[in-house]
């Protein structure tokens, strides 16, 4: 074995071009319209095949082996076994429980809690399906954990995040990321995550207090401006009825304003904490990169009424591949085939909750 003095740098490479994606997208559009959108499962599969096979690692393309039929069956199963019964139950509850009673309120609470649980489950299961259908050199990926356990964690942390006015958010992100990555396999090999909370909390604190600074600044500006205009004065008068309530309602939006700064740091931090065999990962994302990616993607999807989604996905792939570095020596020869069970049908839950980002 030749010894390399300095650690090697490896990269994923996305060679996809929008021009090649266009005929796939146009055909999907046509067939979606002709089949009243039943074709969407096959269309989604065609797009994934293209995106996967244009992603190269060590000059070998990834491969997507899922089929439209699997997605279609997964969707049918979820619709008939979960969504339809849920719809019936919630309708019955609406009829038989007193509209203003505590029974209906607690039912509604439990119902939404369960929906939240299902969303957590959907995230995990969609990832399990996609990884089991992703191959590189014939070796496939896998998720080896339990989706229900992940979903419980998901519900717990979101509850904590809401109760703590956001303060549990970085903890949640690290915990969920660690969980999902450590249960991710390529072949028989696991990913490892060692991510500290300190750096994330430092930035989060700035964002959190910054949101109040912003809120106060905007409120002051509005109040000053309103003295000039009668109309806004009227609005401000209405606001003063319960200014504190108004502030509380507006505050989350101001927190969201700072979110991109936090997110860029989070992506880099979590990537740096992740390793696979002897390789550690680095992401190099700035807030402006991130805002550019998100805003243009939003524009693409909105102006094409959603049909342009695949182009947005291609941009996400490119962004990710361009900014991800892998540092260290990788000896893939020792990676053996995965023995984890692969699901036979795909992603029904994620489709139902519109989580199908890719």
């Amino acid at each position: 074995m030749p010894q390399t003095p300095s650690p090697a740098q490896l990269r994923l490479e996305q060679r996809g071009r929008a021009g090649e994606l266009l005929p796939i997208v146009l055909l999907n559009m046509l067939l979606n319209i002709l089949t009243l959108s039943i074709y969407r499962f096959w269309g989604k599969t065609n797009v994934r095949r293209y995106l996967w096979r244009q992603t190269h690692f060590l000059d070998e393309p990834l491969e997507y082996t899922g089929t439209g039929g699997e997605l279609f069956k997964g969707f049918l199963a979820v619709f008939l076994l979960i969504l339809a019964p849920l719809g019936v139950v919630s309708n019955l509850a609406g009829v038989y429980l007193e509209p203003d009673g505590t029974e209906l309120a607690s039912f509604t609470g439990l119902f939404y809690l369960f929906i939240f649980f299902l969303i957590g489950m959907a995230i995990y299961r969609a990832r399990r399906y996609r990884l089991s259908r992703t191959r590189w050199r014939g070796i496939r990926g896998a998720m080896v954990g339990s989706s229900a356990q992940y979903a419980l964690r998901y519900v717990f942390f979101w509850g904590l995040t809401l109760a703590s006015l956001g303060w549990a958010y970085p903890w949640m992100r690290v915990s969920l990321f660690t969980r999902i990555m450590e249960e991710t396999r390529f072949g028989d090999r696991a990913f490892r995550v060692v991510a500290t909370l300190g750096p994330l909390y430092r930035l989060f604190a700035i964002c959190w207090f910054g949101s109040f600074a912003l809120l106060i600044a905007v409120t002051a500006a509005v109040v000053n401006f309103s003295s000039a205009s009668v109309i806004i004065e009227g609005l401000a008068d209405e606001m003063t009825v319960s200014p504190w309530l108004g502030l509380l309602v507006l505050w989350p939006f101001f927190l969201l304003f700072w979110l991109p700064w936090y997110k860029a740091r989070e992506i880099n931090h979590l990537a740096a904490g992740t390793s696979f065999m002897a390789v550690s990962f680095r992401m190099d994302v700035s807030v402006w990169n991130l805002l550019g990616l998100m805003s243009l993607n939003l524009l693409i999807v909105v102006t094409t009424l959603g049909f342009g989604q695949p182009f947005a996905q291609l941009r996400v792939f490119r962004f990710f591949c361009r900014r991800l570095r892998m540092i260290g020596d990788l000896d893939m020869d020792w990676v053996r085939q995965s023995s984890a069970m692969a699901p036979s049908i795909g992603e029904g839950l994620a489709d139902a909750f519109d989580l199908g980002a890719v």
Binding site: I38, G138, I139
Partner: protein, 364 residues
């Protein structure tokens, strides 16, 4: 015999092996290169070969075999491509010529046809027996939702004199019934010429209908007809149909887009779908019986319809958009109404003139 250089993954590890590939009569023969490496030797019959991706220029050809779907063979040589095309042409079929594409197309077509059949025949046939199973409180709940939608923010009219006239009219209609259905009649302050029966026995009459009627007899005829719908639980059947349609469209499009939600909405679809010919006939029969028992003219219905149709033709169909969209003017119906009309308001007008004026002005 030409040997082609290739890369091989056996599907057990991610290690890459160099192999040389030759064509023989039955398939591809893979031998290790260098030959000492063990466990690489393969014989892949042409029938077992699968292309990973459709072949594209300047892209390596990647193959697997159905006997070991984890294994991958990768070749760059255009000469190999040409020879494979010659030896195993079934790999290079495109479009509908490929069996799995044909199978998927057939499955999608079958799903569409079945859905269409279910919407066209299944939902209407199931709605009547299902409507009988619906508990009354559920019916009333749906009725409230539909009513809110039909009112669309318009106020209900409750002027004292007009309200008294309206209840006199309904009492006269139902006084001779053995077991009158539970129902409530409300006038809504909307200009459209329309009237609706809703699940749970709510009947809604728009101000426009009262104003365009020439006599209380005509209003009584409309009311009797709507009571026929209530008696046969047609509104509940329609609500069931619309929910069925909503569920199917949800199933088809799945993503719950705004358009689908709109179409799937109970009230929305209730308006989109009109009563079937059979339902109208049933409502007419019931209404006719009611009118005759109350000694009221059954001719008024026909006259009202005829006049509205004439007016609609003149005023670019604005008036037609209302009552006729949910009650299509069937010539067969009108003929039947005219024929059965033996008694021209034997018991006098449905309301005296004061009451009729009060009813017309119920919205103030």
């Amino acid at each position: 015999m030409t040997e082609y250089e290739a890369e091989f993954n056996d599907g057990r590890t991610a290690a890459r092996h160099h192999v040389s590939v030759t064509f023989d009569a039955h398939g591809l023969r893979l031998t290790a290169d260098p030959p000492e490496v063990e466990g690489i030797e393969r014989q892949w019959p042409y029938g077992a070969l699968r292309l990973i991706d459709p072949p594209r220029p300047e892209t390596p050809l990647r193959l697997t075999a159905s006997s070991e779907p984890d294994a991958r063979l990768r070749l760059d040589d255009p000469a190999f491509f040409a020879e494979l095309q010659h030896r195993a042409p079934h790999l290079f079929l495109s479009g509908l010529a490929r069996p799995n594409v044909r199978r998927n197309a057939a499955a999608i077509l079958a799903a569409l046809l079945l859905t269409g059949l279910f919407l066209w025949q299944g939902v209407p046939r199931l709605s009547a027996p299902l409507a009988r199973l619906v508990p009354v409180e559920w019916e009333q709940k749906i009725g409230r939702v539909v009513r809110k939608r039909l009112l669309a923010g318009a106020k209900t009219c409750e002027a004292e004199l007009g309200g008294a006239a309206l209840s006199r009219l309904t009492r006269r209609l139902t006084s001779k019934m053995e077991a009158p259905p539970k129902f409530v009649v409300t006038v809504a302050d909307r200009g459209a010429i329309n009237a609706f029966a809703m699940p749970g026995g709510n009947i809604l009459i728009f101000r426009g209908l009262l104003q365009s009627a020439e006599s209380a007899d005509e209003v009584a005829a409309v009311l009797a007809h709507e009571l026929g719908h209530v008696h046969h639980r047609h509104p509940t059947q329609m609500a069931i149909r619309s929910m069925g349609v909503g569920m199917i469209t949800d199933l088809l499009t799945g993503d719950g887009s705004a358009l689908v939600e709109l179409a799937g909405n109970v009230g929305g679809v209730l308006l989109l779908l009109s009563y079937s010919r059979d339902m109208e006939r049933q409502a007419d029969e019931f209404g006719g019986t009611l009118l005759r028992r109350a000694d009221l003219s059954t001719h008024a219905m026909v006259g009202f319809f005829d006049r509205l149709r004439g007016a609609g033709a003149k005023t670019d169909g604005n008036n037609l958009a209302g009552y006729f969209s949910s009650h299509p003017p069937l010539s067969e119906r009108i003929a039947a109404g005219a024929k059965s009309d033996g008694n021209k308001s034997g018991g006098g007008p449905a309301l005296n003139n004061d009451d009729w004026q009060a009813l017309k002005n119920i919205c103030g």
